[in-house]
């Protein structure tokens, strides 16, 4: 049997303690150990970005990390961004601009965009496209996602 390690991690402001195998991926930990299934797994090789979460405020691909690496750290997932009755301006903007179709890539985009908009509160279209070029979407063709980001930036500036 593999050794087990205790992981203590704060996710969306709540502290969790679990005992896990060292090879357990962070994405699987969040989804199946903690039941936070909003973070999605699209490729498990670090290209599609659907699994993006914030790790101490920085966007990471949770499919390329192990849960044990999160020990002692803070994670923000899409569940921590807003609720159905109280959407984050970014989530509102995605809705208004029709930036969501199947919704599978969406949490990854949102979590990549949160730190981006913090650093770039007034981005150009070109800057937005570059910022999201690490997230794949197969449904939207990206145009309405770009519109959503511009709309969100506007909302968040006022």
């Amino acid at each position: 049997m593999n050794d087990l390690f205790t992981v203590t991690v704060t996710v969306n402001g709540t502290q969790y303690e679990r005992t896990v195998e060292p090879r357990l991926l962070l994405s699987d930990f969040l989804r199946h150990e903690l039941g936070l299934t909003g973070t999605h797994v699209g490729c498990e090789h670090g290209v599609c970005g659907a699994c993006t979460v914030l790790f101490d405020g920085a966007p990471v691909r949770s499919c390329l990390m192990f849960a044990v690496q999160a020990n002692g750290h803070e994670i923000l997932t899409v569940e921590g961004l807003g609720t159905m009755d109280d959407l984050h301006p970014l989530q509102e903007a995605f809705r208004e601009a029709h930036g969501v179709q199947c919704g599978f890539c969406t949490p990854g985009f949102l979590m990549s965009l949160v730190p981006f908009l913090e650093e770039n509160p007034d981005p150009t279209e070109e800057e937005i496209r570059e910022a999201i070029s690490g997230n794949l979407c197969r449904c939207t063709g990206y145009q309405h996602i770009v519109d959503a980001v511009q709309l969100a930036a506007e909302k968040m500036r006022t």
Binding site: G42, V47, A50, F94, Q101, R138, C139, G141
Partner: protein, 785 residues
């Protein structure tokens, strides 16, 4: 009754759930005592299975069971054909060979499943795959379409003489005579190769057999839950009422998520019944490249016969279509190709010899476009070449051949994929092309801007193409609409949803009929317990067929509401109107009753329901169109190429689409933009590369290049509408239209951008590598000017 909601750009009702990570996808399903499956897959594309030993795997701690084909006993059988050959085409040759749950004697594609491991976790299940000892005797692999038909080619299905899966000829008029009369005959070979849907969500299944209640529940990323339910019930000797298939939120479909059955669907069902616990299998991305269906391999030898002023006299298209290792989907994809080669044009004579071949590659089934893009590619390329050789402008030559707007319904005199005559129901092609040309500034660009840019040494090209698209085919769909005592409306339909916004667009239809807000309409799709008659989401038919079924059911409920309200309010029906969830007397709005109160009155706890009526305010209705509805469009773009790096930049992209009445223009535009994105991928960035052993060389997103926001431009969209006369809403499908003409547009525009090299692009997907080779050949031949 005014159309208040249909046609509105409403935001989607389902979005908050998706945006906050609260939507249920198959991998989110978590049941008590759930086990996990992993499949051992063949590394060889063509091989005999000599032996397989799973005993060591069974010993591994945490492994509950390991099964092979032998273990499955009598249940093991090749799947049913999903689509049979068209009974309406004469002299057809068709060999139906379908996929198996687990390999028993012969492997026919790399990735075909050999065994399934059921374990406490996916990690342990995958560990156990390494414990399985397999002896495979490799056979020569068949990968090239033409080599597949050579006499010494290895035969993939041993009981057949060759790898010919099907052969049929369709024709009209007299092509040989047309060819004789023609002033110009263009003949070219066109090569088209495979891509994959690469939906962001891979496939997945949770199968749960409950022994005590004798009930099977399957969560499945399928686009067609009802056929899967009926098929599994039949296969396992259950009543369909014992089987529930749920397609919850699905992360993109695009076609390949329809099969009856994928091997995993059969294996998981069988295994859950054996083991007595729920079992989950989630495909990983690498598996998706092998285990999920793909599309688009064809070789065309095509000929266009024209007069010197560019009028088409005849078209001949002989082609070979790759169906992969098995052909459960029949001739659907190549028939679409054969039909769409005719385009929006008047083509008096036509001859097409279609051969379908087996290869040692994954199964081919529809992938967005479903064979249509290939047909569009052939005709548009031939017209472009004719335009050059005759010295007639590209836009002009198309105009000269358009079917005029007074010929509809137009019978093309060949059979389409739905086994009925290919009839275009309505359309008006000239304004579409002219609008697209105007939007991109075609004349000004060709006459003024392009010469100026070329003088600066830049390679900027402009392209413009057009197409028709058959959509909205039968057989039928159904819907049930119910007014609840709360006053809210619930709707159920059998199609599934993979991002098309059915929850909103269908609610808009109901809202107009019943005078409620679309936000008060709760829609369920893709759950056979809620609705179990129908086929599925494919072929751009959801809005047309399910949408019109929803409309029919909502209209029936409206009639019931009016009848009952008229009795209750003691006012003739003609004086009543439905608005804001109330039934009101038009001239005396204080005389009203709410829909919820009416629903209570319609289901009395005392007193009887009158003979010939039903309790409640509910109706189930169906819609089954005789023909599909014909959408059409034109796309144009301006693109710059760097002839040293071969990188391209799309400067502008415009499209004009006619999808009849739009239910929700916001959703329509999303579909078109997404379609163009996939089209761009399949034109220049995506191709599945197989070697001569049938090995896929680029089975990951690192090497199979799905376009990002850097590659897909802003798309300017305009709409023209010729409502379909075939359905009350006048809708036509639009799910696939965005991607149909993109490869041929890319070809034309690349040629135009590199006009000084005088290349011909006759292959798709293109790529920087292939473009480099074309330019090198042109430089070598001294063709560069």
């Amino acid at each position: 009754m005014a159309k208040k909601y249909v046609g509105q750009r409403m935001t989607r009702t389902e979005d908050p759930r998706l945006l906050t990570g609260q939507a249920l996808f198959v991998d989110d399903v978590d049941l008590p005592d759930m086990l996990h499956a992993a499949f051992l897959r063949s590394d060889h594309a063509h091989a005999r299975l000599k032996s397989i030993d799973v005993s060591a795997a069974r010993e591994r701690p945490g492994v509950v069971a390991v099964y092979t084909a032998e273990d499955m006993g009598d249940i093991w059988q090749p799947g049913p054909p999903l689509v049979s050959p068209p009974p309406t085409v004469e002299d057809i040759v068709f060999h139906s060979r379908t996929q198996v749950p687990l390999v028993k004697d012969k492997v026919r594609l790399a990735g075909e499943p050999l065994a399934v491991v059921i374990a406490e976790s996916r990690y342990i299940a995958e560990d156990a795959l390494d414990d399985i000892a397999v002896d495979l005797e490799p056979l020569g692999a068949v990968v090239d379409l033409e080599k597949a038909l050579e006499p010494d080619a290895p035969v993939i299905h041993d009981d057949l003489d060759s790898n010919l899966a099907a052969h049929l000829v369709q024709q009209k008029g007299d092509y040989a005579a047309a060819r004789e009369k023609a002033d110009l005959v263009i003949k070219r070979r066109i090569l088209i190769d495979r891509g994959t849907a690469a939906a962001m969500e891979n496939r997945g299944i949770v199968a749960h057999w409950d022994e005590k209640s004798q009930h099977l529940t399957l969560w499945d990323t399928t686009q067609a839950p009802i056929p899967v339910r009926n098929g599994l019930a039949g296969m396992f000797g259950l009543s369909p009422t014992q089987v529930r298939v749920i397609a919850p939120f699905v992360g993109g479909g695009f076609g390949p998520k329809i099969m009856m059955f994928y091997p995993e669907e059969v294996c998981l069902t069988w295994a859950t019944m054996k083991v007595g616990r729920p079992i989950k299998w989630i495909e990983d991305r690498r598996e998706n490249f092998y285990a999920t269906n793909q599309e688009r391999g064809q070789v065309h030898d095509a000929e266009l016969a024209l007069t010197r002023d560019g009028r088409i006299l005849g078209l001949r298209d002989d082609f070979i279509h790759d169906t992969g290792a098995y052909d459960p989907y029949g001739l659907t994809v190549p028939l679409n190709t054969q039909c769409h080669v005719l385009g929006p044009y008047e083509i008096p004579s036509f001859y097409s010899d279609l051969k379908m071949v087996f290869t040692n590659r994954p199964i081919v089934s529809p992938l967005r476009g479903a064979g249509r893009p290939q047909g569009v590619y052939v005709i548009e390329r031939l017209l472009d070449i004719a335009s050059k050789e005759l010295g007639i402008d590209r836009v002009e030559i198309r105009k000269r051949n358009f079917l005029p707007p007074d010929v509809f319904p137009y019978d093309n005199q060949i059979i389409d994929q739905a086994f009925v005559p290919l009839v275009y129901d309505s359309g008006n092609y000239l304004p579409i092309l002219e609008k697209a040309a105007a939007m991109i500034g075609y004349d000004k660009f060709v006459k003024e801007e392009q010469p100026r840019l070329r003088a600066e040494g830049r390679h900027v090209g402009i392209g413009i193409v057009c197409f028709i698209e058959t959509t909205g085919i039968g057989p039928y769909e159904g819907a049930r609409v119910t007014v609840e005592t709360s006053g809210k409306i619930s709707v159920a339909t059998g199609v599934g949803t993979q991002g098309q916004g059915h929850f909103t667009s269908f609610a808009q239809i109901v809202a107009d009929q019943l005078g409620v807000s679309p936000r008060d309409v709760r829609l369920v799709t893709g759950d056979t317990a809620e609705f179990h008659w129908g086929t599925g989401t494919f072929a751009s038919r959801g809005a047309v067929v399910a949408g019109n079924a929803v409309h029919a059911a909502a209209s029936s409920v409206r009639a019931k509401v009016l009848k009952l309200a008229s009795k209750v309010l003691e006012v003739p029906e003609e004086e009543l109107e439905l608005e804001d969830g109330q039934v009101r007397v038009a001239d005396a709005p204080q005389q009203s009753i709410s829909l919820g109160e009416l629903a209570v009155l319609a289901n009395p706890l005392r007193g009887a329901v009158e003979p010939g009526t039903e309790p409640g305010l509910e109706s189930t209705d169906y819609f089954g169109p005789k023909y599909g509805a014909t959408a059409s469009g034109a796309h144009a773009m301006i693109l710059e190429v760097d002839p040293e790096t071969m990188l391209v930049e799309i400067k502008r992209y415009v499209l004009v689409e006619d999808c009849g009445t739009m239910l929700n223009p916001l959703i329509v535009e999303g579909q078109l933009q997404g379609g163009v994105g996939m089209g761009i991928g399949s034109s220049y960035y995506e191709q599945l590369i197989y070697d001569e052993n049938g090995q896929l060389l680029n089975a990951s997103f690192a090497d199979y290049l799905v376009p990002t926001a850097s590659e897909v431009p802003r798309v300017e969209i305009a709409h023209l509408e010729t409502p379909s006369p075939l359905n009350p809403l006048g809708t036509k499908g639009v799910g696939e239209g965005g991607c149909l003409p993109v490869p041929c547009l890319f070809a034309q525009t690349l040629e135009d951008a590199l006009a000084d090299y005088n290349i011909e692009v006759l292959e798709t997907p293109m790529s920087p590598n292939k473009l480099f080779e074309l330019l090198e050949a042109a430089r070598g031949a001294g063709r560069e000017t």
